[in-house]
Symmetry: C2
Subunit: 320 residues, 2 copies
């Protein structure tokens, strides 16, 4: 049973001091490794690990080709400014090869997870010689899976490390007692900029979750550009989360003065407290039309843009 | 060269008198036939033909299974109230058989046209013994096709009547000099209710043009129900045209408390003067959300509703 530290009871400075000491004591003279995604959880773990271990922590950022525009460079740049070296691993080809011809959402999720753990990060861990693996698991993640030993067991299996032979490997999860709000407090206390500490949620399968149908490099590029427009133009709103979805259905449009089939982007912007229920943000039509015109102008092949007007439930935040 | 009668120069009463006399003179003691769709053009032709020929005009309403909720009965009822008998021909099976497994929009249009002219209406014309065919062609239709003889030639070919043997058949097109606004004026002068005279445009392929992908009876029923909600809830707006589109893409939703894939309806409502350019109607979010909730509640299988926010061009009024 993990003892929760609630946000109102959290002393970030004391928490950081305790966790840094724990990591240092556990790793001793060994070395550790972790994967940074740019999300607040893995970012906080990277900072804690760096404070505890310095150069004995190796942090990798795996570019799966499914990130938002400029995201790998931006995240690595933020950590560089904080004095934390992060290594970018270009694994785009491996991810797109795994995603080829998969149209089913569960299949895409599975292909990404498998490629991440077993093929890419698993290989890096196995070849690194590091025996300590830092992970940004939070209490909410534990709630959603089986708890304790079984879960850690699964991590080894996912990494391609035979649990029978995993003797010597150890997983360190400094954020296990926190929920997202607590993690954000610790992140700020660690000096992470709001861009990271207050980052809006982003799905695990990244932009692959934002295309209906196959996640080809071309289709990911299309939704990446639309996402950039949506995030830029809705940054000033109070929305809880906003996103662009590339549909597979083709709709009629005019291209170069001729009738032609083009692609459709669906924009969703949610008002919500906790993502459990949500309603569409009541954006002005000036903004909605500007959004549509900008997406059509900046994203090749798109002739139609819609805005979600259904609440969650029965809708969900993401489309796939 | 057809001489246009512009709306501002049109005297509806004189026009009606002249056309009734023309039809009577042309048909003589023969009999005529026409197909009523419920659109303003074919409705006006039905009224003119009835005034000219009485019982010697046979008017058929072909139910292709692609009409809006209750439409065949409503149209026939309106004409019954006007004293004009209209015969409903149930051709739903023939149309759905022709549409089976066709997903391409052009293919669907072609299947519907072929089934209408060659299989259903062609057979009725050939079996009727009537040699005079009344058609609601207007000047805009002529602009959009090849003019004159060639066009009439094509009508015979479409009907399965060998143009070489078409001697004796004659097509009568009383509205050839008018455009839509003129036809509406004549319709009102003929006593047609606004529901017909001011009917919002509806695509030729009917609801088959409102589903992306295959037009099965089930999918047509889904978009029919969504269309009924949209037409009912947006009737009070000043919009030029409004419609519901059933997408083929499936999106995640919650059904009976579980994650499941459901269908998406796209609503379009257009502000426009002439359909050449158009912008989305700036509906209130109260109305948009009510629309989404009602569609989800009343249309089985739908978990998501979007609203079009792109202008025409590059979008088009209809989606396929």
């Amino acid at each position: 049973m993990i003892e929760e530290i609630r946000a109102q009871d959290l002393d970030p400075a004391a928490f950081i001091e305790a966790k840094v000491a724990e990591i240092r004591a556990t790793v001793g003279e060994g070395s550790a490794i972790n994967a940074l995604s740019g999300g607040v959880d893995s970012s906080v773990v990277t900072m804690l690990g760096h404070r505890a271990l310095g150069a004995r922590l190796r942090t990798v950022f795996i570019d799966n080709g499914l990130m938002r525009e400029g995201e790998p460079q931006r995240v690595v740049g933020i950590f560089r400014d904080l004095g934390v070296p992060v290594e970018i691993v270009d694994a785009r080809r491996e991810f797109f090869a795994a995603l080829k011809e998969i149209t089913d959402p569960e299949g895409k999720r599975e292909a990404i997870t498998q490629t991440f753990y077993r093929d890419v990060f698993g290989r890096i861990v196995r070849e690194s010689g590091a025996r300590y693996l830092l992970q940004g698991t939070i209490l909410t993640d534990v709630d959603e899976t089986v708890a304790g030993i079984k879960r850690q067991h699964n991590v080894f299996a996912q990494l391609g490390i035979d649990p029978q032979q995993a003797f010597g490997y150890q997983i360190i999860e400094p954020l296990l007692q926190l929920r997202k709000d607590g993690v954000r407090m610790v992140g700020k206390a660690l000096g992470l900029p709001d861009e990271i500490a207050e980052r809006i949620p982003f799905p695990g399968p990244a932009l692959a979750a934002r295309v209906i149908g196959e996640a080809t490099p071309e289709r990911i590029e299309t939704v990446r550009r639309a996402t950039a427009v949506v995030e830029r133009m809705l940054a000033g709103t109070d929305a809880f989360q906003y996103l662009a979805i590339l549909h597979q259905d083709r709709v009629t449009g005019m291209r170069d003065g001729r009738r032609d089939f083009g692609q459709q982007i669906e924009v969703r912007s949610w008002d919500s407290l906790d993502a459990r229920t949500a309603t569409p943000t009541r954006l002005s039509f000036d903004l909605l039309e500007a959004l549509a015109r900008t997406i059509i102008a900046e994203v090749p092949g798109v002739v139609s843009v819609t805005y979600n007007i259904a609440p969650k439930p029965p809708s969900t935040i993401e489309a796939v």
